[in-house]
Each structure stands twice: as structure tokens, then as C-alpha cells.
């Protein structure tokens, strides 16, 4: 068979969308003033800035350990309370436990919560509680509902109905169905999702710290504000170590839960 000649017709369905994509990208870039010139300027500025930050100011390291620990505690408490609240919401949002009205209203609430960024919740809470760790913990707890509530509700709905019937057939009530039939069955998933959420909450607690929840995020914000770039660099290193560390820990634990059923 002779080699086929290039024909526009053959590639039309790839080329056309590509041209449209490029045109849209260029048009939007012009509208908001993002050009390649600015990008290269930015990269050089950024590198120069990083150069200025180096070396980190290790003398600030000891005094940053406490805020770092505070960030971890905020994330931990937020995850613990958030998981507990999420389980309650998940039970109300599962069609095999709650009546359809309750289920639908809870589902809608969970969906709405999921669409609100934690940072907005925090700003509202700071107005209510004032600055500090407390609004951070509450914001992260509420932030869990959107994700954990939905995931757990879906898992509860997949529980074998026979197990629920078993408890109902010996005269057990709803609470007994939940404690003996539902919770043992969802425990492995519950723990691994909670651990995953803990990873997310660590990152969020740093971010929330910068806008008023305290912790290492506040240290970073403060150092930048005071133009102490070497100090800020130390904070960055601590944050990276913290996030990386908890991620490995959570990965390790989740794997254990999955393969050995540990912790359940």
C-alpha cells in the first residue's frame, strides 16, 4: 500500500479544536494582561527573590516549632471533630437509613457546604470568634462535612441490606442498627478517608493560619510582612517538611488499614 498523502481532511477534527483553543487562550490572556513577556519577567523576579531569601535564618527555627505544632493540632482537631460531624451527616444522608425528605435536605446541605471554600468559612468565623486557633478548628471541622459526608453516605448506601435486616429482625432499633450493622462495616473506609482528610487539613491549616487562624501560616505571613525574608524561608521549609511528613504518615497508615484491617 502506498503511503497516504497528508490531507487536511484527516486531521480536521484535531486541528480545528486546537486553533479554537489557542485563539481563546490568547484572547483571554490579552483581556487580563497576562503575556509571555510578563511571564519571563516574573520568573526572573521570582528566582531573584528566592535568591534573596537564601539562606534560611535557622535562629528562628526553635521559635517556629510551637506555631508548627499548633498548625498540626488545628488540623488534627479539625479532622477529629469534622469526621464525627460528617458521620452524623452521612447517616442522615443515606437512603437506607433516613427517610427521603431528611436524606434529600441533608444531601443538598452537604453539596452546598462542599462548594464553600474553607477560607470563606474562616473569615466568617473570625468575625464571630476573633482571631486564633478556635475559628481554625471550627472552619476545618465544617470543611470536612462536604467531602467526608458525601463519601461516607455513599458507602453507607452500599452496605448489604441483609445486615440491617438481621438487626431489625431481632427487634433492634435504628440506633442499634447503626452501631452494630453500619459502623463496623464502614470503619476501614471511615478511617482511611479521615486520614486523607487530615493531609488536606494540614495544608489548609497553614493557609488558614495566614488569614488569622494562627500557627505556622501566620509566621510566614508575618515574616513576609516585616520583610524578614530569611525568616520566611525557614517557615517555608518547616511547612514543606510538615506537609510531606504527614502525607507519608497518612499514606502508611491508610495502606495498613487497607491490607491488614489495622486500627479498626
Amino acid at each position: 500500500m502506498p503511503p497516504k498523502k497528508f490531507s487536511f481532511k484527516r486531521y480536521r477534527k484535531f486541528i480545528l479544536p486546537l486553533i479554537i483553543l489557542l485563539a481563546v487562550t490568547e484572547a483571554t490572556a490579552i483581556v487580563c494582561g497576562a503575556t509571555f513577556g510578563k511571564l519571563s519577567d516574573g520568573i526572573f523576579n521570582g528566582l531573584a527573590f528566592l535568591g534573596n531569601m537564601y539562606p534560611p535564618d535557622w535562629s528562628a527555627f526553635p521559635e517556629m516549632l510551637e506555631p508548627a505544632l499548633q498548625s498540626i493540632i488545628i488540623a488534627f482537631l479539625g479532622t477529629v471533630f469534622g469526621t464525627i460531624i460528617s458521620v452524623v451527616f452521612a447517616l442522615l444522608a443515606a437512603n437506607n437509613l433516613a427517610n427521603p425528605w431528611v436524606r434529600n435536605i441533608t444531601r443538598v446541605f452537604i453539596a452546598i457546604e462542599r462548594s464553600i471554600p474553607e477560607i470563606i468559612i474562616l473569615i466568617l468565623l473570625v468575625a464571630a470568634f476573633g482571631l486564633g486557633a478556635m475559628p481554625g478548628v471550627v472552619a476545618l471541622s465544617i470543611g470536612c462535612i462536604g467531602m467526608l459526608g458525601k463519601l461516607l453516605a455513599d458507602i453507607i448506601e452500599e452496605i448489604d441490606p441483609l445486615m440491617i435486616e438481621a438487626i431489625e429482625s431481632v427487634g433492634g432499633n435504628k440506633i442499634q442498627v447503626i452501631i452494630f450493622g453500619v459502623l463496623p462495616q464502614i470503619m476501614p473506609n471511615l478511617i482511611s478517608y479521615a486520614l486523607f482528610r487530615f493531609e488536606i487539613n494540614i495544608r489548609l491549616s497553614v493557609l488558614l493560619g495566614a488569614v488569622g487562624a494562627g500557627g505556622v501560616g501566620y509566621e510566614l505571613e508575618y515574616s513576609f510582612g516585616m520583610l524578614q525574608y530569611h525568616r520566611a524561608f525557614t517557615a517555608v521549609i518547616i511547612i514543606i517538611a510538615m506537609v510531606f511528613g504527614t502525607e507519608r504518615l497518612s499514606y502508611f497508615l491508610r495502606k495498613k488499614v487497607k491490607t491488614e484491617g489495622a486500627l479498626t
Binding site: 435486616e165 433492634g172 432499633n173 442499634q176 452494630f180 463496623p184
Partner: protein, 263 residues
């Protein structure tokens, strides 16, 4: 004693699933319900413990020290109270897979303890011991600590019998308890259910006429929602044909797999 009177249930389109089923079961009896698939056997059984509400008719439970009660006419709360004393063995075992065998046996008494106690798994040592005894009765005590999800079908069914024993019911229902099991396991299960009929009436749905002939004291046959036979468990071939119709061939095949020694 349990008395079923005129049970009827129909689909919205008017098709009758149960059509005037009536029978009585006394203590000491082990009644097997037979019939082709879709005849309404399991439906009847589910009416007996209120998992299903019939359109009309009544299921009256009389025990020695309480008033006769019609479970088709009581509210949810009352129904929960009645169910505490009705043991059920299901075809699919109905065990919570991630709990241990012992914990599953304890579930049998959930209805009888307060909600507060159950929230903290608050069974007493005496109750745990009794649960272990129930497991011992079905020869499962050495596996008490194992997760039920890792047990075999026969073992799971034995755990569910232990659950029913521990529940100490006044009526025992069995919904195709041996349909998922191989012949030798099926025999073991039947041998374990049989002596329980001396303590309480036992009603079971079965697909194996040979088994009911051997272990039951009485057989009831349901076909197309109607009761067509009630009497001696040993059925003649003609009777079997009457009950099963075209399905008889399938049943006979099963019988070849289950060698029954005629006594």
C-alpha cells in the same frame, strides 16, 4: 404457638401473591414449607415476623405467659418487642461481616437490652458466656473470635443458628437455610435445627423435599399463592408432581446429589 389466618397479598396490578393462606404450628412441630419458586413461600415467612405486611389476614402468636398478639395489626414499637422473641435464620446468613462470630451471636439479644447499653457494646460477662455456649452448641466455639466475613457458608449458617439460640425465642423461622450449602453441610444444619423444635415451633421454607421428609414433622405446600397441601412430610411422587409441576425435574436432579437412606 403461631396461627396464620387467611393471609392475602397482591400486587398493585391485582395479581395475587398470597391467596388465603391459613395454618397453625404448635410447639414440638418442625414445619417445612415447600413449593415452586415464586409460589409465595418466603413471602409467607416474612409475614410471620412482620418484615412484610399482608393486605389482609392475621398472624397470631400465642405464648405461655402472654396475651395472644396479632402481628399484622400492631405498630412499629410493638413489632420490635415481638421480634425480640422471634428467631430468624436466613438463606443469606444475615451476619455483620466485620464483627466476630461471638459479637454476631450477641446481636440476637440486641432487642432485649436498652439502647444505652448497646451503644457501648454493654453485654455482661454472663451474657457473653451464654453466647459462647450457644456457639458451642453449633460446634463453633473455637472460632468465636474470628471475623464472620472470613468463615465458610456452612460455618456462617451455624453462627446464625447460634444467634437464634442465644436469642431464646418463642418461635423460630428459617428462610431457605440450606439452599446455599452443600449436601453434607445442609444435613448438619438440619440436624441442628431439628432439636430446637422441642422448645419452640419451627417454621422453615425449603427447596428440598427429601430433607423435609427426613427432618420435618409436617409439610405445607404453597403453589401460586394458595395452600395446596398440609400434612405428612413424606410426599408421594404424584403429590410432588402436583406441587412442583414442571419444576419437578430440577428438584429430582437435586435429590440425586443428596443421597437419602430410606428408613
Amino acid at each position: 404457638m403461631i396461627e396464620v389466618k387467611n393471609l392475602t397479598k397482591s400486587l398493585p396490578n391485582g395479581r395475587k401473591l398470597l391467596d388465603g393462606i391459613s395454618f397453625k404450628v404448635k410447639k414440638g412441630e418442625f414445619v417445612g414449607i415447600l413449593g415452586p419458586s415464586g409460589a409465595g413461600k418466603t413471602l409467607t415467612l416474612r409475614c410471620l415476623n412482620g418484615l412484610l405486611k399482608p393486605d389482609s389476614g392475621s398472624v397470631i402468636i400465642k405464648s405461655e405467659n402472654s396475651q395472644p398478639l396479632d402481628i399484622c395489626k400492631i405498630d412499629k414499637r410493638e413489632l420490635r418487642r415481638v421480634r425480640q422473641k422471634i428467631g430468624v435464620i436466613f438463606q443469606g446468613y444475615h451476619l455483620v461481616k466485620r464483627l466476630s462470630a461471638l459479637e454476631n451471636v450477641m446481636i440476637g439479644r440486641l432487642g432485649q437490652i436498652s439502647t444505652w447499653r448497646s451503644m457501648f457494646y454493654g453485654f455482661t460477662d454472663a451474657e457473653a458466656e451464654e453466647a459462647l455456649k450457644a456457639l458451642d452448641q453449633v460446634k463453633m466455639s473455637q472460632m468465636a473470635g474470628m471475623q464472620t466475613g472470613s468463615l465458610s457458608g456452612g460455618e456462617m449458617q451455624r453462627v446464625s443458628i447460634a444467634r437464634a439460640i442465644f436469642q431464646s425465642p418463642t418461635l423460630l423461622l428459617a428462610d431457605e437455610p440450606i439452599s446455599n450449602l452443600d449436601p453434607s453441610n445442609a444435613k448438619t444444619i438440619m440436624k441442628m435445627i431439628k432439636p430446637l423444635s422441642e422448645l419452640m415451633p419451627v417454621v422453615g421454607v425449603f427447596h428440598q423435599p427429601e430433607m423435609t421428609a427426613k427432618y420435618c414433622t409436617r409439610v405445607i405446600a404453597i403453589k401460586e399463592g394458595k395452600l395446596i397441601y398440609d400434612g405428612d412430610p413424606k410426599l408421594s411422587n404424584k403429590r410432588l408432581e402436583e406441587i412442583y409441576g414442571e419444576e419437578l425435574e430440577l428438584i429430582e436432579q437435586q435429590e440425586h446429589m443428596i443421597p437419602v437412606t430410606a428408613k
